[in-house]
């Protein structure tokens, strides 16, 4: 450290060793958020540039991946949600109505037997995920795909852990419903 700032050599080492290994994961997250390669490229570039600019506020050897995901998520909110192609958000009414139905059926569960989905392709599942409101999609990506802990997710998206749990539960149920409807419509009970 020199005058409270990382010297260039240290900066470059942290950037290469701690930040760059997460490039693919960040790109994947960015792509699912923006649904567009160009926008995903821009978002990832902005994320790494911001990370480099503010590298002094990153504590070496801590959770670089979560730190980068938070920068990317904030960048997405600030830049992309303002554009006209604003992705669907989780509205309060959606949450309330979904919460209500969820409460009623707490001890029941969706008919989600494995064989129903055996023939389903990755494209179809990815499409169903991408159609979810962005807050639901985000939480599934962070938990199931990136395997962040609830605590990390809470920090990345600035919500309490209790909200992480409930939002994740609702997001999964909505996705299950979508996939079940799709599978039944397309007759996936028989293997393709």
């Amino acid at each position: 450290m020199e005058n409270g700032k990382l010297v260039k050599k240290t900066k470059d080492r942290v950037f290469k060793k701690e930040f760059l290994p997460h490039m693919d994961a960040l790109y994947n997250f960015a792509f699912h958020l923006t649904l567009n390669e160009d926008d995903a490229n821009d978002l990832v570039q902005e994320t790494f540039l911001k990370a480099y600019r503010f590298i002094d506020s990153y504590q070496q050897g801590t959770n670089a991946k979560a730190w980068l995901f938070k920068i990317l998520k904030n960048g997405f909110i600030n830049e992309y949600r303002r554009k006209t192609k604003q992705p669907a958000r989780v509205e309060f009414d959606d949450i309330v109505s979904f919460h209500d139905t969820d409460e009623e059926g707490r001890l029941e569960y969706l008919d989600l037997r494995q064989e129903l989905f055996q023939g389903m392709l990755g494209d179809e599942v990815t499409r169903a995920l991408n159609e979810l409101p962005v807050d639901f999609k985000t939480i599934i990506l962070l938990c199931d795909i990136e395997e962040f802990s609830y605590e990390e997710i809470a920090k990345i998206i600035d919500i309490p852990i209790g909200t992480v749990r409930s939002r994740l539960h609702r997001a999964r149920n909505i996705l299950k419903e979508k996939l079940r409807d799709y599978a039944q419509k397309e007759g996936f009970k028989e293997n393709r």
Binding site: M23, D24, N41, Y109, L112, Q114, V125, T126, D144
Partner: protein, 85 residues
């Protein structure tokens, strides 16, 4: 072993199933949860459904990788940023 477990309550299952599947509980608590639900056919079946669904998502959701060009662009931008400062 069952005698050491409290009476099975399906509400406990609902409360903890995702914590278990998402790796949020310590191993000992997770093991107790599994032993507990093994006494209830409905909970056990539901557990396997949720577990299968999570594995299904992990296996099926497409993962995009960034291109070599993007990697190079980022490195160049960082270099340029360095020169500015």
């Amino acid at each position: 072993m069952d005698q050491q477990l409290p009476k099975h309550d399906c509400r406990n299952f609902v409360e903890k199933v995702f914590l278990v599947l998402d790796g949020e509980l310590p191993e000992q608590e997770r093991n107790l949860f599994i032993k507990d639900i093994e006494r209830c056919k409905g909970c056990l079946e539901h557990y396997h459904i949720e577990k299968t669904f999570k594995e299904f998502l992990v296996a099926k959701i497409e993962r995009k990788e960034c291109t070599e060009k993007l990697k190079q662009d980022i490195l160049m931008q960082v270099k340029a940023e360095d020169k500015k400062s």
